[in-house]
């Protein structure tokens, strides 16, 4: 990978805050990161049966999402971002 594109300038503060929120939740709950990797693999396997998923860009993290932008945190949640390359159904139902 091009190391220059890896540096997402202008957004790194936001990335740091998001990573930290996940990390601290993981530290406190004792949720093992390797379990997260296993869940990520399984989600990929299931979803990619239907649509073309970009595994490299998939994100799965433990966080405390807010109910509204300024609202209180809701309970810890698994948050997934699953980028889809193509929505053309694969037809393996």
């Amino acid at each position: 990978m091009d190391r220059r594109t890896a540096l997402r300038k202008g957004r790194s503060g936001e990335i740091a805050a998001r990573r930290l929120k996940f990390l601290l939740t993981a530290d406190k709950t004792g949720f093992p990161p390797e379990t997260l990797a296993m869940i990520r693999n399984d989600i990929y396997r299931v979803v990619s049966r239907y649509v073309d998923v970009d595994f490299g860009q998939m994100e799965l993290h433990l966080g405390r999402p807010k109910s509204a932008p300024d609202g209180p945190d809701i309970c810890p949640a698994l948050c997934a971002v699953i980028p889809v390359r193509s929505f053309r159904l694969k037809g393996t139902f």
């Binding site: 957004r11 503060g13 990573r19 601290l24 530290d27």
Partner: protein
């Protein structure tokens, strides 16, 4: 009634000793009888940041072990009439003192001082437990970096578990230019993540390096960090000083000068 304050962080290198030196100096400037105690046994540094390294005769371990009286070990800072330093020992380690002895040491100082400021070593082991043992309140220093914040969170958890009565956050080395362009967590981000009330934010300032080089604390001087440290001292005394963060109160003039600097 005196107050015992511990300056702690978890991670090393975030500015605990610099913060201790400047808050100690600031409190003395505001007329409070202040003693700073370097509790980092084996890695003594507060003396050199204060520029008092050539005046050490006895140290904290000597006092605890009864090799000298407290008065013999305290170094009076001639620049500020109310300021004293109890230096750490350089040739011993953290196990030379236990939390009970530290509690007694701070109690012995309470009659003579308004503020007893403890500079805590990095880490969460015995040195940390010694430093927090006798403290009424804690100032947790962090920088806006993932590693420092993660460690600060751990320290805050330990302080809360140990029933620390009051915990406040100091965000050190903030680069407001980077915050504005989105490449550094803002003070608000750090507060949001750590969920501890803020007592001050110190801008990243070259003047700090110069001041440390010279062994002259800069609290109260006409520098961005010198003013920020003095504001923290005033807030410790109970004054209501609004937090004027450069990224909030950044007017047209500031924007113009930063534009010119970039060009």
């Amino acid at each position: 009634m005196s107050e015992v304050i511990v300056v702690t962080s978890g991670k090393g290198g975030v500015g605990k000793t610099t913060t201790s030196a400047n808050i100690g100096t600031g409190l003395a400037m505001l007329g409070k009888r202040t003693v700073m105690i370097d509790t980092d046994i084996g890695l003594r540094n507060l003396d050199v940041v204060m520029g008092l390294e050539n005046r050490i005769v006895y140290n904290l371990v000597d006092v605890v072990e009864g090799n000298c009286r407290m008065k013999q070990a305290l170094i009076r800072d001639k620049r500020y009439p109310n300021l004293y330093l109890l230096p750490s020992a350089q040739t011993r380690d953290k196990s030379a003192v236990n939390p009970e002895q530290m509690r007694k040491l701070t109690e012995d100082l309470q009659d003579d001082f308004d503020y007893i400021l403890l500079d805590c070593p990095a880490g969460i082991e015995q040195g940390f437990r010694n430093a927090v043992a006798g403290a009424d309140r804690a100032l947790v220093v962090t920088t806006p970096e993932v590693s420092a914040i993660r460690d600060a969170d751990r320290i805050i958890g330990l302080l809360e578990h140990g029933q620390m009565k009051s915990i406040h956050l100091i965000v050190n080395r903030v680069r407001y230019d980077m915050v504005r362009r989105g490449d550094m967590m803002s003070v608000d981000d750090v507060m949001d993540i750590l969920a501890v009330p803020l007592i001050g934010a110190i801008p990243d300032d070259e003047a700090i390096v110069i001041s440390t080089n010279q062994g002259e604390p800069l609290a109260g001087t006409d520098t961005p960090s010198g003013q920020a440290y003095l504001d923290i001292c005033r807030r410790l005394l109970g004054e209501e000083i609004p937090l004027t963060l450069p990224n909030v109160s950044f007017g047209l003039f500031g924007r113009l000068t930063s534009f010119l600097k970039r060009a």
